[in-house]
């Protein structure tokens, strides 16, 4: 398989999978097998590209020329490679998790769920390997549209309202700002190809470039800079696997990935560093970072808290990119991976808690850690990684982000990152502490879990009917536990393999590995 074919397959395999899934509507076991196999194939395909890209190759091809000089083209480069690996790898894990979750919850329209999931992944791969801004835009919109049915999966009145917020914000920012920015760039630079050093370098200056940066940053609604972050909490009405993979990894990371791509390949870090008023972006990122953390503190709903935490963590990446130095880019790229593993673990845990005990509010979860010790341990690992403590992956990305702030003499942002870490501690660790140490509410009726038995994996998980609240184990289905084990193991592994990610990203950032 040539690298060019691999790129084509990375986009085609999930689409083909989606068709197969749709055709096997009546056979749930076969349908889920197809999902897993598709995810596995996708990961292998993406993996097969890695040696070429680490070796300095930039394979790519033009799929179609829409307008003269304006093709749909693809190219594999390190940032996209990293994002593709993370997204496709975690899709496998999430697929297992989905099976456990969707069956235990006895959700309706599961075929639509798996089909849209596969299309969303195909769009994500398109974003990863886009060779120019137009291609990226095409897949960006496709991702928005394909995730919409997942967000409003339950089809209640609230879900449809949340869906309107989701679609309204994402489409209006992308059509209103991003498309305008793309058109403008095209008129100035005459091309939209991602070029190292930036296509706008030396072609635009002064207020124009500042305005362009503004249009890009607020056009990429998926990066959830305040005040256009509202869609992300709204998207939490979706089933948990969607929140986990899409709204902690694929969709939001597609946003910040686009931000980094725009800064590195459209503006060029040098252009940005020389801009006189580029500070506002860093400040907005810092503001979002802190404010979202503070809002997270006030949320009692576990998924809402995690959502605001995501808003905050995304701004780390924007902040790193806005510093416009090599280390900042590396820190941002790395944080895409590190946060992905940390946050997906946390969401898996939130879903596991929901499936096993039907609880969504943190205040109801007192003592639950003794009933679900395994889930809570995984939550602890994920939380520590998000906070950024060694020996977990999150430590490295924060380290590089702080180095970048120091390198550019913006000490204040080091302070911001530190305060934010403290806030992370304040909103994540109490959940664990309450779970392990608080007394369970008296007289709580914990009802049995009849439909957990639907899942083949449920046999592995001890299902108990406890009359006295805490005391006996009552974990989520085995598929779910497997997923969160992998997620938390990933957080640990990334700490030890961060060097590889650094080496992969170094050429993009212009750092000699």
């Amino acid at each position: 398989m040539t690298p060019e074919m691999a790129i084509g397959f990375a986009i085609g395999v999930p689409l083909f999978g989606a068709v197969l899934i749709a055709l096997h509507d009546r056979y749930p076991n076969l349908r889920e097998t197809i999902t897993i196999v598709t995810a596995g194939c996708l990961f292998l395909v993406v993996l097969s590209l890695l040696p070429e890209v680490t070796g300095g190759g930039r394979p790519g091809f033009v799929a179609a020329e829409i307008l003269p000089g304006l093709p749909i083209s693809f190219e594999a480069e390190p940032l996209g490679m990293l994002f593709a690996l993370v997204a496709s790898g975690l899709w496998i894990v999430t697929s297992f998790y989905s099976i456990g979750y969707m069956r235990a919850h006895d959700e309706h329209k599961q075929t639509r769920f798996y089909v849209c999931f596969a299309i969303a992944l195909s769009s994500t791969m398109g974003i990863c390997f886009a060779g120019n801004m137009l291609t990226l835009f095409v897949f960006y919109e496709m991702l928005t549209l394909s995730t919409y049915p997942l967000v409003i999966h339950h089809e209640g009145e609230d879900d449809i309202k949340a869906g309107r917020v989701y679609l309204g914000i994402l489409l209006s920012t992308s059509i209103g700002f991003l498309l305008l920015a793309i058109l403008w760039t095209w008129l100035i630079a005459g091309t939209l190809d991602f070029t190292p050093g930036g296509i706008l370098a030396g072609k635009a200056e002064g207020p124009a470039i500042g305005l362009l940066l503004f249009l890009y940053m607020f056009g990429i609604g998926k990066a959830a800079l305040m005040p256009i972050h509202r869609w992300l909490p709204a998207a939490m009405v979706a089933p948990t696997p969607v929140s986990a993979l899409l709204h902690a990894v694929a969709v939001v990371k597609a946003g910040v990935f686009t931000v980094v791509k725009v800064i590195v390949y459209i503006f060029g870090t040098d252009t940005l560093a020389n801009m006189t008023q580029d500070d506002w972006l860093s400040w907005i990122a810092a503001f979002t970072l802190l404010t979202a953390s503070i809002i997270a503190l006030t949320k009692d709903n576990l998924k809402a808290r995690l959502a605001y935490s995501t808003v905050s963590q995304l701004s780390y990446i924007v902040l790193g990119a806005s510093l416009a130095t090599g280390l900042g880019i590396v820190g941002s790229g790395m944080h895409i991976a590190m946060h992905a593993f940390g946050k997906i673990t946390l969401f898996f845990c939130a879903g596991a808690i929901l499936v096993a005990s039907h609880k969504t509010e943190i205040s109801q979860m007192d003592g639950l850690g003794r009933v679900m010790p395994f889930t809570y341990f995984a939550f602890l690992i994920g939380a520590l990684s998000v906070i950024g403590l060694p020996p977990l992956g999150g430590a490295w990305s924060k380290w590089y982000l702080m180095l970048a702030a120091a390198e550019t003499d913006r000490i204040v942002f080091i302070g911001v990152l530190m305060v934010s870490s403290l806030l992370n501690v304040a909103y994540l660790l109490p959940i664990v502490a309450r779970g392990y140490f608080a007394r369970a509410p008296a007289g709580e009726c914990t009802h049995g879990h009849a439909h957990a038995a639907v899942s083949a994996g449920a046999a592995a998980a001890p299902v108990a009917h406890g009359g006295d609240g805490a005391g006996r184990l009552r974990e989520a289905p085995g598929f779910c536990l497997f997923a969160l084990a992998i997620g938390s193991a990933g957080c640990v592994a990334l700490f030890f393999y961060a060097e590889r990610i650094f080496a992969l990203l170094a050429p993009v950032a212009g750092i000699e590995g």
Binding site: A64, I66, L67, I72, V138, P149, G168, G176, L180
Partner: protein, 493 residues
């Protein structure tokens, strides 16, 4: 040998077909005649486009009487393109018509329906092909009168008042046009368009020509439903038979737009249209208001055919906006959108026709949950809707791309932003249907439905498929539109 007579045959075949339809009377035979005439018209239009692209404009003296005395048929890139669009839409909707018309119109006297349709087609093709200003008026009346008949055949009794209203408005428009043409004849002594162009360019602009210009622009604007002269359109499209809505939405206003282009840029010149007369700013403002006002009204329509009709008014705004730039990019955008909108809107009206065929209603309430039972129909509708929004890889995106590039080219930043903002209104009205059809519990009617028969689904999907295809492989529409725009602007000088 016969190729030399293509310009005449283009109009004559459907024109002869109409009385033939009447004579054969038997319903399937009359349908077959209409089908054959449409397909023949398409073949001729395609061949003529090739001819024009290869060898430049074709001039045909009708009956051997040379212009400027005789009537000249003149085919250049612009009208070859419009001829192709009109005849292609006719050819695609005819197979669809057989079941749809029988369902909505019954079987008695169906041949009269096909007779009116062929007359309408002949009229539209004639307007497009002729190089004679008065002949244009004659064909415009043929197409208008037959479309009043077609609209009044709708199942809903409100179709009658809608057709009557259209009749009144359309007649006022036609009167304005004939007054304009009369004034031009009075001043220049000719009716041939090329001749008119030469004499108008040679004379200094006086009041008579100014008045003629005013009458013509207002009359044509009525025909093309430019805001605020669009009031006849929503009800006419909403209550007409499904096939008629699709056919007229995709062709009638497009031909009127072509007439506007022809008069502004060929008969009058750029200097007169946009220099002496401040038409650019007038068109610009009206187009922008149309984009917003009509789209906003569309958001609140519960009858989906009315919704699409208002959306058409807004989309006509985009085309006129492109014209108001008076640059090659702007005209390209306008002409391109003329083609693109015909595909999308035609396809969407056909999809709604399929729904109507199954459940007898296009009220949004009755469409709740219908995507479950009519998945292919609704998928077509949604893809067409994506085009209206301007989602990339659909034709709508290409149109908007050119419109915005054209606006930025002229330094009209505000207009560029407005085009983008108005797209968001399209999101709102398309998404209402998506929510209803896909995510609401099915209505009683929707539970019983199933996808329409193949003879209706295939035409629908041909148009929708084309709206995707030409969003990716744009060389044909963009190439021809660019050339047409360059010719129009070149001819004005």
């Amino acid at each position: 040998m016969i190729a030399a007579h293509f310009p005449a045959l283009q109009v004559v075949i459907p024109l002869i077909g109409a009385p033939v339809c009447m004579l054969v009377r038997y319903r399937d035979w009359s349908w077959a005649v209409a089908l054959a005439c449409s397909w023949a018209a398409l073949a001729i239009a395609w061949l003529m486009l090739q001819q024009v692209l290869a060898g430049g404009p074709v001039s045909y003296a009708l009956g051997g009487w040379a212009a400027p005395l005789g009537i000249e048929y003149r085919v250049d890139t612009v009208n070859a393109y419009v001829l192709l669009i009109v005849s292609a839409i006719g050819s695609v909707v005819m197979p669809y018509a057989r079941r749809s018309v029988r369902h909505e119109f019954g079987t008695a006297r169906v041949y009269l329906f096909y007779t009116s349709y062929l007359l309408c087609l002949a009229g539209l093709l004639g307007v497009t092909i002729t190089g004679d200003a008065f002949n244009l008026f004659v064909f415009l009346e043929i197409s208008s009168l037959s479309s009043y008949v077609l609209i009044s055949l709708g199942k809903d009794r409100r179709a009658l008042t809608a057709a009557y209203r259209y009749l009144v408005m359309g007649t006022i428009g036609a009167t304005f046009i004939v007054i304009g043409v009369g004034l031009l004849y009075h001043n220049t002594g000719t009716l041939n368009m090329m001749d008119l162009a030469a004499r108008i360019a040679a004379s200094t602009a006086d009041r008579t020509i100014g008045a003629a210009f005013g009458f013509l622009v207002v009359g044509i604007s009525l025909k093309l439903a430019l805001f605020p002269l669009h009031l006849w359109l929503p009800n006419a499209y909403a209550y007409a038979p499904s096939m008629v809505s699709a056919f007229l939405a995709a062709t009638a206003t497009k031909v009127a737009l072509y007439v506007l282009l022809r008069f502004l840029f060929t008969v009058f010149n750029l200097e007169l249209s946009f220099g002496v007369m401040p038409l650019d700013i007038v068109l610009l403002v009206l187009a922008v208001i149309a984009m917003f006002a009509a789209s906003t009204v569309a958001v609140f329509q519960n009858n989906l055919k009315r919704m699409l009709a208002y959306s058409s008014v807004a989309q006509i705004g985009y085309m006129v906006l492109g014209i108001s730039y008076a640059t090659v990019t702007g005209l390209t955008a306008g002409i391109l959108h003329l083609f693109n909108h015909a595909l999308m809107k035609g396809g969407m009206f056909l999809a709604l026709g399929c729904v109507f065929y199954r459940i007898g209603s296009v009220h949004i309430r009755d469409l709740h949950g219908i995507a479950r039972t009519m998945p292919w129909t609704m998928a077509a509708f949604v893809l067409g809707g994506f085009g209206l929004i301007g989602v990339p890889l659909t034709v709508g995106f290409i149109s908007k791309w050119y419109l915005i590039v054209g606006a930025i080219d002229r330094g009209w930043w505000v207009v560029a932003v407005l085009v983008l903002l108005s797209s968001l209104l399209a999101v709102a009205y398309v998404w209402r249907v998506v929510e209803a059809a896909y995510f609401r519990p099915p209505s009683e009617a929707a539970k019983q439905a199933s996808d329409a028969p193949a003879s209706m689904m295939i035409p629908t999907w041909i148009l929708i498929g084309a709206s995707i295809w030409f969003g990716i492989e744009t060389s044909l529409p963009v190439g021809v539109a660019e050339r047409a725009a360059a010719e129009l602007l070149g001819a004005g000088r």
